[in-house]
């Protein structure tokens, strides 16, 4: 009995409380509108169902949001992730390519380069994109939004240049496994996202890295004085964000079996920033939660699926997202909370005057 209040308080103070509540609410709305929402079927050796579908589609956003979380934790922002996705997808699709060759009556799929090489090259390119952002922010000292704006503007041009303005189609089936394969009955993409999350979780909880990142976010100058290698860590954080965007690019291009320089990862940066904010990471830096960002990505994907499934025109999606951003922003603002308290309290005080 005596334990109860502290437990309630602990739950109330938990950073994941609001993201989880939001997600549960959206899931409940979903389930009430669509009776078969929770139904899972075992077919062809893997699970089918709306929930699995949402998880599968959320994987790229989860990955990008994870990278973005660390960037935002250091008071930065990376608006170039969409372009990085397009570039990585273009590199991978170009290198895998693939064609059907028939030798001795047996159909064989041949890729232009070995698939592992294509994946490594795509990821290295994405890493280089992130590194470039990091150097601009940490070494040259540009504002993060502007430093990444450069790649955001030029990146799509680079992706177009790589693909020669065409949509590059991939004809190499093993590559499709990344985005639409299944492992132990679950989408493979989900395992990638889960693995990256686990790795990052260990890195920030088991080493001092999490603390350093937080210190940089709270006060970069103080962190440097305290001996944190602020610039190096910042560069690594941006490079890592590029890498996660690169992985997302692989998943997306593998899922649609092609690379489209113009549309791949379009507006993904905004969704990722939204996911991170929804998850409870402060945009002013210093406080971040990786699990929250994962939940944030799920919230956004569930919201999108809900909007599609209830037959509302998908265009409303943007208005709903805007409303969600406004609400979350206001809830995070200390001034707003104070103002609301003022509106609630003032009538009572004012009645005497």
């Amino acid at each position: 009995m005596s334990n109860t209040p502290s437990l309630v308080k602990r739950v109330q103070a938990h950073p994941l409380l609001w993201p989880v509540v939001t997600l549960v609410l959206i899931l409940m709305v979903n389930a009430s509108l669509n009776p078969g929402f929770w139904m899972l079927q075992w077919r062809d050796g893997h699970l089918y169902g709306s929930v699995i579908d949402i998880l599968n589609r959320a994987a790229p956003l989860m990955l990008v949001s994870l990278g973005m979380t660390l960037v935002i934790a250091t008071r930065g922002i990376d608006i170039s992730v969409g372009a990085t996705v397009a570039i990585s997808a273009a590199v991978a699709a170009l290198m895998v390519g693939g064609k059907l060759v028939i030798t001795d009556g047996v159909a064989q799929h041949v890729s232009r380069f070995p698939m592992w090489l294509a994946i490594v090259c795509a990821l290295l390119t994405a890493l280089a994109c992130g590194l470039w952002n990091g150097v601009l922010v940490a070494k040259i000292g540009l504002q993060p939004i502007i430093a990444t704006l450069i790649l955001m503007v030029a990146g799509r041009g680079v992706a177009q240049l790589l693909t020669d303005g065409q949509i590059v189609t991939v004809y190499y089936p093993p590559y499709f496994f990344i985005g639409s394969g299944y492992l132990w009955g679950l989408p493979f993409a989900l395992f990638i996202a889960g693995f990256v999350y686990l790795l990052m979780h260990l890195a920030v909880t088991r080493t001092a890295l999490g603390l350093f990142i937080q210190a940089i976010g709270i006060n970069p100058a103080a962190a440097r004085v305290a001996g944190v290698r602020e610039r190096l860590i910042s560069i690594c954080v941006y490079a890592f964000c590029g890498l996660t965007a690169g992985i997302a690019g692989l998943i997306i291009s593998s899922n649609v079996k092609s690379a489209d320089g113009n549309n791949a990862g379009n507006l993904l940066e905004l969704d990722a920033i939204l996911a991170v904010t929804l998850g409870g990471t402060l945009l002013t830096g210093g406080r971040f939660t990786l699990a929250g960002s994962m939940i944030g990505a799920l919230i956004i994907q569930t919201l999108t699926s809900t909007i599609y499934s209830i037959g509302v025109p998908p265009e409303i999606n943007l208005v709903v997202k805007a409303a969600v951003v406004f609400v979350v922003m206001l809830m995070q603002s200390a001034e707003f909370r104070r103002a609301v308290r003022g509106w609630v309290v003032r009538p009572a005080a004012g009645s005497h005057a």
């Binding site: 503007v153 799509r156 905004l270």
Partner: protein
């Protein structure tokens, strides 16, 4: 001749524009005609207007990501009113301008009142305006109203038989002239520069910081709406996918025009040359014919990079003296 250091970025932009023009004139026949340069202004009139609003926001130390969507929203509202509801132009255009101004003022109020980050507030504004476009119409609405097409197609000759400009180009120059006056000749303009320099100091100086902050975003909203009106003159249609990514072009123009992104330093005339430089890149690529259009984005990115790094160098150079 010694240039004052504060004019160096502006001079760099103008020389860049001149150098590109000379390069074009030497490389391509027919490039060096007045009409080619007037076309820069005609084709980019909406961008000039939007970028002028953006310059005020950036000068005050903020950013406005919603302008592209507000342009799209304005085109579609205007097309709906004029084409489907048969409103008079003289009623529809002011309504659209009011709408844009109120939209901007609302975002400015949120930013100012609740200490929210301009980046996120205007990002939400971007989603909202784009979404509202689709709520009004998913399809493109073409405008065939007679008064409208006449207005859009009117060309004013500089002299009889000479090169000509459109009404939008004249409007863009008028907006620029007004902006130069507001920025350098009024209390509002001086307050914007002061806030960009240091908001805290501006408050201590007793300047109307809160009011100015809201007004800056209202002004940007107004310019975006006016940009939308001019955009309909150019496209003669309203569509939710108009002006995607325009906010980036506007920011790029402002930066290339020599305005410091940290706020407080910059000139309206620089923004005009920023837009013209972007236009000249496009014209050069068009005249060349062998380069694909996506080179435009790469060159703009490279220019952004060069100018941002230059800005850092100037900032670093100025600090010891200040």
């Amino acid at each position: 001749m010694k240039l004052q250091s504060k004019y160096i970025p502006l001079a760099a932009t103008i020389s860049l524009f001149a150098a590109m023009s000379v390069f074009g004139a030497v490389s391509y026949t027919g490039f060096l005609s007045p009409q080619v340069f007037l076309n820069l202004l005609i084709d980019n009139a909406f961008l000039v207007i939007v970028a002028v609003g953006m310059t005020f926001v950036i000068l005050s130390g903020g950013i406005d990501l919603s302008v592209g969507s507000v342009v799209a929203l304005s085109t579609i509202v205007l097309a709906k009113l004029v084409q489907h509801l048969h409103w008079d132009l003289m009623a529809a255009i002011p309504l659209v301008l009011c709408m844009g101004t109120l939209f901007g003022a609302f975002m400015g109020w949120l930013i100012q009142r609740f200490r929210l980050q301009p980046f996120i507030v205007t990002l939400a504004g971007m989603f909202l305006a784009r979404g509202l476009c689709y709520l009004i119409s998913i399809d493109s609405i073409s405008i065939t109203d007679e008064a409208y097409t006449v207005l859009a197609q009117t060309r004013l000759h500089l002299w009889s038989g000479g090169p000509m400009v459109s009404i939008s180009a004249v409007l863009a120059l008028a907006v620029l002239a007004a902006a130069v006056f507001v920025a350098h000749g009024t209390e509002f303009g001086r307050t914007v520069y002061a806030i960009g320099g240091s908001e805290h100091s501006a408050v201590l100086m007793g300047l109307p910081v809160a009011r100015t902050n809201v007004l800056v975003y209202a002004l940007s909203g107004f310019c975006a709406a006016l940009g939308g009106v001019v955009f309909t003159f150019y496209m003669l249609s309203g569509y939710g996918l108009h002006a995607v990514g325009l906010e980036l072009d506007a920011i790029a123009a402002v930066v290339i025009g020599g305005t410091l992104l940290s706020g407080g330093v910059g000139y309206m005339v620089g923004t005009l040359f920023g837009v013209l430089t972007l236009g000249v890149i496009q014209t050069l690529i068009m005249f060349d014919g062998s380069l694909s259009s996506w080179w435009t984005r790469i060159v703009i990115g490279a220019l952004l990079f060069v100018f941002c790094v230059l800005q850092r160098v100037f900032e670093a150079g100025r600090k010891p003296g200040a």
